[in-house]
């Protein structure tokens, strides 16, 4: 800040009233502490009055970096009186917006005003540099108060000279910063609002800077601003009610200004908006903002990737995947690790996409090296998940078991790299369970449960399912009861459903009915109190369908041969969902129970027409045909129906059993024996609900 000075010669000069003098003499006098003499020298040299001389002196000291000296000089001026003198000059003035009358007198008065205001401004800056923030803020505020009084109808466009406008703009921008530095946050908020809501004739850059600074304050200071005063509210206009709303509004306005070409691009605006909208669970609104940006602001690939993150965060995985497919195309950026992992994750949730997901996961693995090596475990995990899902739609037994073992391999390798990743532990447990390696599954499930402290509902459910698969029903019930104890009411649906099924497995159907009744009451209460507004999206995940309960009850009554009760439940279920293969299947079961095999067979055919892949119906069809002793051509139908069922659900023991019966009927004893053995083995390890319900 100090320009190089030789001993007595300063490079600085004073210009005023058409003359110029060197500043060296004056500086020398100031250095000696002689303010009065310095002032006199100036007044003589440039024919200035007292105030003008002091103002210049103060400016000089400030330029030299002697802020204390500057303050001393400014203290000598009675700035308050100077302001008072300015006011009468303007109070009779009519703000002539169009005409150019009275240019003469305003310009002189403006000149005097800008002199005084600049002096106060420099005083404030000096105090700021001395870290006397509160005093600085008071000084700065005086400028704005004075300007408001002088230009009480707002600063008219044409008539204010540049100097004055510059001071005012600076003061408007400085004041909130000073209050912030002083720790007076309420005053800072008022200052920001005053800056943005009153008419100061700020240029767009200055306005944008203040808006951005306000946004940062609103988002991160932790001080909740009270809503803007009623004075500024106009009918119909949006008034933000809290910090987040105000910040988001201002950020959107800033983006709009950029899009209209009024201000330069500032990437931090988008970052702040990302933060704000993510916090509000509104990444879909964020996606819209990205889309509305002009092309070229972000590279298209970055744009697609950010959009994909936003959409995926909002649950719109299909759209996200489409974008990722574009950005991972071989001509674009096929090796971006984040995108690959996200794409793989999305694909891992849908068996139809699993094959594609495998490809992304493998690419991710090959790209996880160097600084990104820490993500290799994640990539392996995604690979394992995708392979596991792919196995579900495998077309042959060989392919299915091959994929399943590869899936397990990947997950095991992943967990060696990420031993503490609880999601991975869970997924491994599910894979083991589906592989019927129940001991390993239980070990992993217990590990997951401990790692998460029982805070995740699926940990409990998995334990119950595994224990039930091991035929340890009473222990499973103990766990279920413990889980019911540790969960809030609205999450208990799935647990109660499991409990009912456990009761059935332990041959306590009356208890099961009781449990179903309780569950029904819960679900109906849930429907009543929530309606459209959810308490939490988490609850949605764990809601039990009322339809499922009625259907479950119908099946239960059917197994107890209570046909009337079963019919009533079916009717209730039908009210909720008219065309359901599951319901028609139960109808078939009822017909069969009452000895009406033909009607039962018709029901199964209807059901398969409704849903071609409905496994229980296929099995029932096969079983009925075999039972009814029909001709051999029908037996072929039965066999193909059961094989189809097994293709879809490889581990369905009932299907194996029925297929065994068919083989026996046909005289193929060896095949029958194999089937019965499979059925028997599966029976020993069948969970009460499929493991895929929680994966």
């Amino acid at each position: 800040m100090e320009s190089s000075e030789q001993e007595n010669v300063s490079l600085r000069e004073f210009h005023a009233n058409g003359t110029r003098i060197s500043a060296s003499e004056v500086e020398a006098k100031l250095d000696q502490g002689n303010i009065q003499e310095a002032e006199d020298a100036l007044r003589e040299g440039l024919s200035l009055n007292f105030e003008e001389a002091r103002a210049l002196l103060g400016k000089l000291e400030y330029q030299r970096g002697n802020v204390e000296g500057a303050l001393r000089v400014f203290d000598g001026i009675d700035l308050q009186a100077a302001i008072q003198r300015l006011q009468p000059a303007f109070s009779e003035k009519q703000p002539a917006k169009k005409g150019r009358t009275r240019i003469e007198s305003p310009s002189i008065s403006q000149h005097a005003a800008s002199l005084v205001l600049e002096a106060i401004y420099l005083k404030a800056k000096s105090l700021q540099k001395l870290r006397k923030f509160t005093e600085a803020a008071s000084e700065c505020k005086r400028i704005l108060d004075a300007v408001e009084k002088i230009f009480y109808l707002g600063i008219p466009d044409i008539q204010v000279d540049n100097k004055l406008q510059e001071i005012v703009s600076h003061a408007v921008e400085l004041l909130p910063e000073l209050w912030k530095q002083a720790g007076c946050y309420d005053e800072a908020i008022s200052a920001y609002r005053r800056a943005l809501l009153s008419q100061w004739n700020l240029d767009t850059d200055c306005c944008a800077r203040i808006q951005k600074s306000f946004v940062v304050f609103l988002l991160y200071s932790g001080v909740e601003a009270s809503p803007p005063s009623l004075a500024v509210q106009i009918d119909g206009s949006y008034v933000p009610k809290n910090n987040l709303e105000e910040a988001i509004l201002l950020l959107m306005i800033l983006l709009k200004k950029f899009c209209l070409g009024k201000i330069k691009w500032d990437p931090s605006v988008m970052e702040h908006l990302t933060f704000a909208l993510s916090i509000c669970n509104q990444t879909s609104a964020l996606a819209k903002q990205f889309e509305e940006l002009m092309p070229g602001v972000y590279h298209r690939i970055d744009c697609w990737n950010s959009l994909a993150l936003c959409l995926s965060g909002a649950g719109k995985n299909d759209n996200a995947l489409n974008l990722l497919r574009k950005s991972l195309h071989k001509h674009e950026q096929p090796n971006d690790l984040t995108s690959l992992l996200l794409a793989a994750k999305i694909c891992s949730e849908d068996p139809q996409l699993a094959n594609e997901g495998v490809n992304y996961a493998q690419r991710a693995i090959s790209n996880a090296h160097g600084p990104k090596e820490h993500l290799k475990g994640v990539a392996l995990r995604m690979l394992g998940l995708c392979l596991g899902k792919q196995a579900k739609v495998a077309s042959s037994d060989y392919e299915r078991s091959h994929l399943q073992s590869k899936a397990l391999e990947s997950l095991e390798e992943a967990i060696r790299l990420e031993p503490n990743n609880s999601d991975l532990i869970f997924e491994l447990a599910v894979q083991y369970a589906e592989h019927r390696n129940l001991r390993a599954a239980l070990r992993s499930a217990r590990h997951f449960f401990n790692e998460t402290g029982g805070s995740v509902l699926k940990a409990w459910i998995l334990l119950v399912l595994i224990l039930s698969a091991q035929q340890r029903f009473s222990e499973a019930e103990v766990v279920t009861d413990a889980a019911l104890d540790q969960t809030a009411r609205w999450e208990q649906g799935p647990l109660l459903r499991l409990k009912a099924k456990l009761k059935i497995s332990q041959s306590r159907p009356m208890d099961a009915i009781e449990t179903y009744r309780y569950l029904l009451a819960l679900v109906q209460a849930q429907k009543k109190s929530f309606g459209s507004l959810q308490i939490s999206s988490k609850v949605e995940d764990y809601k039990v369908n009322e339809f499922d309960i009625w259907h479950g009850l119908a099946n239960l009554y059917a197994s107890l041969s209570r046909w009337k009760d079963a019919e009533i439940c079916l009717q209730k279920a039908r009210e909720l969902k008219k065309y359901s293969a599951a319901l028609v299947h139960t109808e078939g079961v009822l017909f069969e129970g009452r000895g009406q095999n033909r009607e039962a067979l018709c029901a199964t055919i209807n059901a398969v027409l409704l849903e071609p892949n409905h496994v229980p119906c296929k099995i029932l069809m096969g079983a009925l045909i075999q039972k009814m002793g029909l001709d051999s051509e029908y037996l072929t139908v039965a066999r193909s129906s059961l094989s189809d069922a097994l293709r879809i659900e490889h581990t369905n023991r009932k299907a194996w059993y029925c297929l065994g019966l068919l083989h026996k009927l046909d005289g193929r004893i060896n095949d029958a024996a194999d089937c019965f053995q499979a059925a028997s083995m599966l029976e020993e390890s069948d969970p009460i609900e499929s493991f895929s319900s929680i994966s």
């Binding site: 921008e173 991160y220 106009i234 306005i253 609104a285 965060g313 996200l342 609880s422």
Partner: protein, 303 residues
């Protein structure tokens, strides 16, 4: 009971537990750094969270006194309490003492929110606002978009495992609401616990290369916990106290660790805000701030 009486009561019972703090006066209760460090240390003792722990009892009673300053005092210890509590969940230690304090904070928020969710209306620029005029026909299609920032609270009398994250999360939301009144030490503590909870080393996201180390103490981080954590970190990084170098460094490290964690979880909802915080705080470190309110320095001084 007036505020002063309550403070005196609180000091008396505190000195029974921590004799070295006997000389505190009501006026220094909030400002004495000794109080913070002593209690903080005691809270980390092996059995500090047990149901019969005196310190937890004191914290609970002090918060329940209803005196605003005393409640702020208790709130300062939330990072330590929450941090130690969550880390010990996996050990199956009984922590009824900590849970009582957390439930007190949760109950306070439940009452003050009156069953309403905290929500935000997303502005639509086609309608005018106090900060801008909208030209052209407003887009009057349907109701304004309301986003729920924090869902409505159900009262809880005990900490059920599946509600644990929500209860701690709400306590953190309360902490955030008062954060500008929290001392720096409390915030630094919070950042350190974030690192533990992430269970992930964030070294690879530093600008300089580093090795990977396993960090103990990983806890599940559902959104109801992550959301207030991210807001508090935002304050530590970009709020008006970011001139505190120690806090900024601790917060940056916490941010990196949490970013590493969200990347490992492939959690896009959390990746977005944390990535933004990292970018913004890195910018802060890089940029030499140009002060737009500084008048240009010239050699010509004129009227």
């Amino acid at each position: 009971m007036s505020g002063d009486e309550a403070s005196v009561r609180a000091i008396d019972s505190l000195s029974a537990i921590v004799p070295s703090l006997a000389r505190t006066t009501p006026s220094t209760l909030l400002t004495n750094p000794e109080i913070y460090s002593q209690i903080s240390t005691l809270l980390r003792n092996p059995n500090s969270g047990a149901g019969d722990n005196n310190l937890c009892r004191w914290l609970y009673d002090t918060f329940q006194s209803g005196v605003a300053d005393l409640q702020l005092l208790v709130l300062r210890f939330l990072p330590v309490i929450g941090g130690v509590y969550l880390s010990r969940v996996a050990d199956r230690k009984p922590q009824a003492g900590f849970e009582a304090v957390l439930l007190a904070l949760y109950a306070h928020e439940t009452t003050s929110r009156g069953g309403q969710p905290l929500s935000v209306t997303i502005p639509d620029l086609t309608s005018p606002s106090i900060y801008h005029d909208a030209k052209g026909a407003p887009n009057k299609s349907g109701t304004p978009e309301v986003a729920v920032v924090s869902p409505a609270l159900e009262p809880h009398g005990t900490v059920r495992s599946t509600r644990r994250a929500r209860i701690v999360g709400v306590a953190l939301e309360l902490f955030y609401a008062k954060i500008w009144q929290m001392p720096v030490a409390s915030k630094i503590e919070f950042c350190k616990f974030c690192r533990t909870w992430a269970g992930q080393d964030g070294e690879m996201y530093r600008k300089t290369e580093g090795g990977e180390k396993e960090v103990e103490g990983r806890v599940p981080l559902p959104w109801e916990l992550l959301q207030p954590v991210i807001r508090i970190l935002g304050h530590c990084l970009l709020g008006p106290n970011n001139r505190d170098v120690e806090l900024f460094d601790a917060a940056s490290e916490a941010c990196r660790c949490l970013f590493a964690r969200t990347m490992h979880d492939v959690n896009p909802k959390a990746i977005l805000p944390i990535r933004s915080l990292m970018t913004l705080s890195n910018n802060l470190m890089d940029k030499t701030q140009l002060d737009p309110t500084e008048l240009p320095f010239t050699d010509v001084i004129s009227l």
